[in-house]
């Protein structure tokens, strides 16, 4: 018995020492940060520079705080696999392929399945004879005309996996260049990337930085006359209210594409607004006339308020309308509002361009932020390689006096008229808002093009003040909860209750120690988990004490009652804790972010409260009741 207790004591002390060891980093880090904050100007910089290593090593070993506590930005990005599937096809993209991809996209969301599998199923359902190899032939990768559909499916999957890995690398490069302390970038599932950026306060910059695919393209604008004719037909079509209603109600595909960068492929259409009167529009009901303001730059279809761009996309994506537009054109929005009304709503131009890009960003060898020599406006200056320069020289030479749209990620930054032939391979993106934005664009361009666009599917931002408030409130709750429970336990069980309180305090130290040792993240729901643990941790003690009381009632001696109490309560304690632990584990495996934090503290709390109740309380009982009985209240 005595031997046994010595072992227990050694165990308890060892765990306690270990917990304190892991926790001291956090305490030192807090103190150090406080010290740094108290310093001013030069002294601060000097201190940080001289102690850089120790600061970093402390920070790395401190208890992690979730974004909801320290403030920051959480973004879930999804790679646009449907577009990847179309882009990978190198020849003869037809409606069979695009419609299969669109249907597969919808089905994969519906059934929670891999879009590539759905794609194959949809494709074969549409035409059992058709072979995917006719689109995806790639001799370099051993995909020949004879490759089976199953082989192509595996090829597409590996391409998709490669694409997401590449995307992660590119996002990492961009975030590193942006300069965030301790960013976290991880893959989730087959097609998502979770980016956590503590302390970020400029959300819109980060947003653009993350989702920019960096597909730079130079497009000629669509033929003016042809466009006007088509557009008039479209307007006439929408004079009929029924047509408009139908276009606006359905077309799920168009909606899915319209989230961030509105114009997508296949959305071919024409230049619209220049001569709207010819079609005698019914302005009262025609949705296009209602929301598209005419422009007179000779190129744009019209100007549309930011909130209406999605509607316009839908109107032009309607199959019947698509068919009215010239085949080889697509409609793109300007990246920046052309003007902003007094309520802050931005207005964007809709621009018809030739679907085929004359030149792409792959030829760009150098990009740097710069200022326009005449207007002093910020811009990005770029240099092309020899191939690019040759094509650029030909294109500009052949289109003097005509506009060329410079398109980044399907958004038109600028569409200047070509003044003269450019033969030195220089070009620039103007129409950039600020020097910072020019720097970010350079970052995006130089960290490489994403294999497919990334869409932001979830974004959560917490400001630093709210985070600090949450920490205070959480801390207060923990302290108050602890005080209340301790007071009650002492009141109800007296000396034994005091044992339980000691066990409880130790429990919290161990719980935090476990979390620090495993570098788990403490979130606001996690703090709630700690508070709950305080309430539930005494349960094991309550079970034991109640059992001892019963044993005493049945006439046992104090020692025997304690012995029997611990022994008989054990199975109930184990069963009830294991079931709660299992729910915690399930929560952990399905939950995300802050909820995972809750599950972690719940599970860690169960482990530490089992340990403290069964070992620590027992040890206290054995030590203090060897000679005399103690009060159970």
């Amino acid at each position: 018995m005595k031997q046994n207790n010595t072992t227990k004591l050694v165990f308890v002390l060892a765990f306690l020492a270990l917990s304190l060891y892991y926790l001291q980093f956090t305490v030192r880090n807090v103190l150090q940060n406080r010290h740094i904050d108290s310093l001013e100007g030069q002294a601060k910089t000097d201190y940080i520079n001289t102690n850089f290593e120790s600061i970093t090593s402390l920070r790395e070993r401190t208890l992690n705080l979730g974004l909801d506590l320290q403030g920051g930005m959480h973004v879930a990005l999804e790679i646009r696999t449907p577009q990847l599937l179309v882009d990978l096809a190198n020849e003869g993209v037809d409606s069979l392929l695009t419609s299969s991809v669109a249907a597969a996209d919808a089905a994969s969301v519906e059934n929670n399945t891999d879009i590539v599998d759905e794609f194959l199923a949809e494709f074969e359902r549409r035409d059992p004879e058709a072979r995917l190899s006719r689109y995806y032939r790639n001799d370099g990768l051993n995909i020949t005309r004879r490759s089976t559909n199953a082989e192509i499916r595996d090829y597409l999957k590996s391409q998709r996996d490669g694409a997401i890995d590449r995307a992660i690398e590119i996002v990492r490069t961009r975030v590193d260049r942006f300069g965030v302390t301790e960013p976290s970038i991880v893959k989730q599932g087959a097609n998502r990337i979770i980016v956590e950026l503590p302390g970020v306060d400029d959300e819109s910059r980060v947003r653009n930085l993350l989702r920019g695919a960096a597909r730079l393209e130079f497009h000629l604008t669509a033929d003016q006359t042809e466009m006007t004719t088509s557009l008039n037909r479209v307007i006439t079509f929408y004079n009929n209210k029924e047509n408009a209603d139908r276009a606006l109600s359905g077309v799920a595909i168009a909606e899915a594409e319209s989230d961030s960068s509105m114009a997508s492929e296949g959305l071919s259409s024409d230049s619209v607004a220049s001569d709207t009167t010819a079609a005698t529009p019914n302005a009262a009901t025609n949705p296009l006339i209602q929301i598209v303001l005419p422009t007179n730059d000779g190129v744009s279809i019209g100007t549309v308020a930011g909130r209406d761009t999605a509607t316009v996309n839908r109107l032009f994506a309607y199959p019947a309308v698509r068919a009215m537009l010239p085949r080889d054109t697509k409609l793109l929005w300007t990246a920046k509002p052309v003007f902003t009304d007094e309520s802050g709503m931005g207005f964007y131009n809709l621009l018809p361009v030739r679907a085929q890009a004359e030149l792409t960003g792959e030829t760009i060898t150098e990009a740097r932020p710069d200022f326009d020599p005449f207007t002093n406006a910020p811009q990005v200056s770029m240099k092309m390689n020899a191939d690019g320069s040759r094509i650029w020289s030909r294109v500009t030479g052949a289109n003097i006096g005509k506009p060329i749209a410079i398109v980044l990620d399907n958004l038109v930054y600028t569409y200047p008229n070509v003044i003269s032939k450019i033969s030195d391979g220089n070009s620039s993106i103007t129409g950039v808002g600020s020097l910072t934005e020019a720097e970010d664009l350079v970052n995006i361009l130089m960290s490489g093009a994403l294999p497919a666009p990334l869409d932001i599917v979830e974004e959560r931002t917490v400001g630093p003040t709210l985070g600090a408030t949450s920490i205070q409130q959480g801390f207060l709750s923990v302290v108050l909860g602890l005080a209340l429970v301790a007071f009650f336990m002492f009141l109800y069980y007296r000396v034994s209750g005091l044992f339980a309180v000691i066990a409880l305090l130790l429990n919290i130290v161990l719980l935090l120690g476990i979390m620090a040792a495993f570098r788990a993240t403490l979130t606001l729901p996690g703090i709630a988990g700690i508070v709950l643990t305080i309430g539930m941790a005494v349960d094991a003690n309550v079970l034991i004490f109640e059992r001892i009381r019963e044993e005493l009632d049945s006439g046992k001696s104090f020692r025997a009652a304690v012995e029997a109490g611990f022994a008989n309560a054990l199975s109930a304690i184990l069963d009830s804790n294991i079931t709660t632990f299992l729910t915690g584990a399930i929560l952990y495996s399905f939950g995300v972010g802050p909820i995972k934090g809750f599950a972690v503290t719940l599970m860690a709390g169960i482990v530490s409260s089992l340990f403290t109740a069964l070992i620590v309380t027992r040890l206290l009982f054995d030590t203090f009741t060897r000679k005399k009985a103690i009060s159970l209240g």
Binding site: A76, G463, L466, Q473, L480, G535, V542, A572, S576, F590
Partner: protein
């Protein structure tokens, strides 16, 4: 100090009352849920919400009117803790960033002396919300399955599993019903989001904890009091553990109330759900779960 010295309530004889009360609660809750519909938060519905902090207190209905005008659709506006913090939830379509900017500029125009800043913002795409919802559903279902199996293995009798699961289902449904009603009456959000799923699973874990302790005692008493009818064994077990059940519920409720009052706005709905669920869970563990076991064993003539 002792609240219960040695109780001998006849819970099992009075189980009809428990059945009537519980069946009534469940039916009313289901009716409320079906009629009102579950109010999902943006986690499961998709959409955008953000918290604006004003320098001085802002008027909820005025803000709502200004934003309805600016966004073209009526947003949900609620106070977020302090009088100068407002939670705005909108399903306006368009770029999230533009919606926030348009809101702030409209409010700035309305009162240039009270310009808000964004202190929290969440945007969840519809597809992502779909995935989160699926994840939540899976977690609840797998929790129930795992619990059923664990109890089956530990107590070697399916009636215990069924009794526990029925009590859990009861707790979850009635809590959901109460939240649905209270959501309209109380000034903080109780929409079903990820935090709420965590709350529900905690309720499940907690309620189960109580139930298992009682079942464990039944198992023990069956061997101690071999001759007694099963009904009496169950009743004795519920009474034996009653004191512990009440004390543990008490300490847990203390901390949940602390969380509710001091834990901040983000945790308000979560703590409220826990509060309701734990009270229900205690009641159902004591009175519903064991009663069901008694009736099931009687009905299927399980002698052991």
């Amino acid at each position: 100090m002792r609240i219960f010295k040695k109780t001998n309530f006849d819970f099992i004889a009075g189980r009809k009352i428990a059945y009537i009360v519980s069946a009534g609660l469940v039916l009313v809750s289901l009716a409320v849920i079906l009629l009102r519909g579950i109010s999902y938060g943006i986690d499961f519905k998709g959409g955008q919400e953000f918290v604006l902090e004003f320098p001085t207190a802002a008027n909820v209905s005025e803000t709502r009117a200004i934003l309805t005008n600016a966004l073209g659709t009526q947003p949900e506006v609620k106070q977020f803790g302090l009088a100068q913090d407002l939670l705005i939830r909108t399903d306006a379509s368009g770029d999230p960033e533009q919606i926030v900017n348009a809101s702030i500029s409209a409010l700035t125009e309305a009162d240039p002396n009270n310009v808000p800043v964004v202190i929290k913002s969440d945007t969840v795409g519809p597809r992502f919300a779909e995935d989160l919802k699926r994840g939540a559903l899976y977690s609840v279902i797998s929790a129930l399955v795992v619990i059923f199996l664990y109890i089956l293995v530990r107590f070697k009798n399916w009636t215990f599993s069924l009794g526990a699961i029925a009590a859990l289902a009861h707790d979850v449904i009635v809590t959901l019903g109460i939240l649905t009603i209270a959501n309209k009456l109380l000034p903080f959000s109780m929409d079903i989001d990820q935090n709420m799923i965590a709350a529900f699973l905690t309720i499940v874990g907690y309620s189960l904890n109580d139930t298992v302790v009682i079942f464990d005692r039944i198992r023990e008493n069956k061997t101690v009091h071999k001759g007694s009818p099963f009904k009496e064994v169950v009743n004795r077990s519920v009474n034996d553990t009653l004191s512990r059940t009440v004390i543990t519920t008490g300490t847990t409720l203390f901390v949940v109330i602390v969380l509710f009052i001091f834990g901040g706005e983000v945790l308000k709905g979560f703590a409220f759900a826990l509060l309701v669920g734990m009270i229900l869970g205690t009641y159902s563990s004591v009175w519903v779960a064991s009663s069901i076991v008694v009736d099931l064993q009687k009905k299927f003539n399980i002698s052991k």
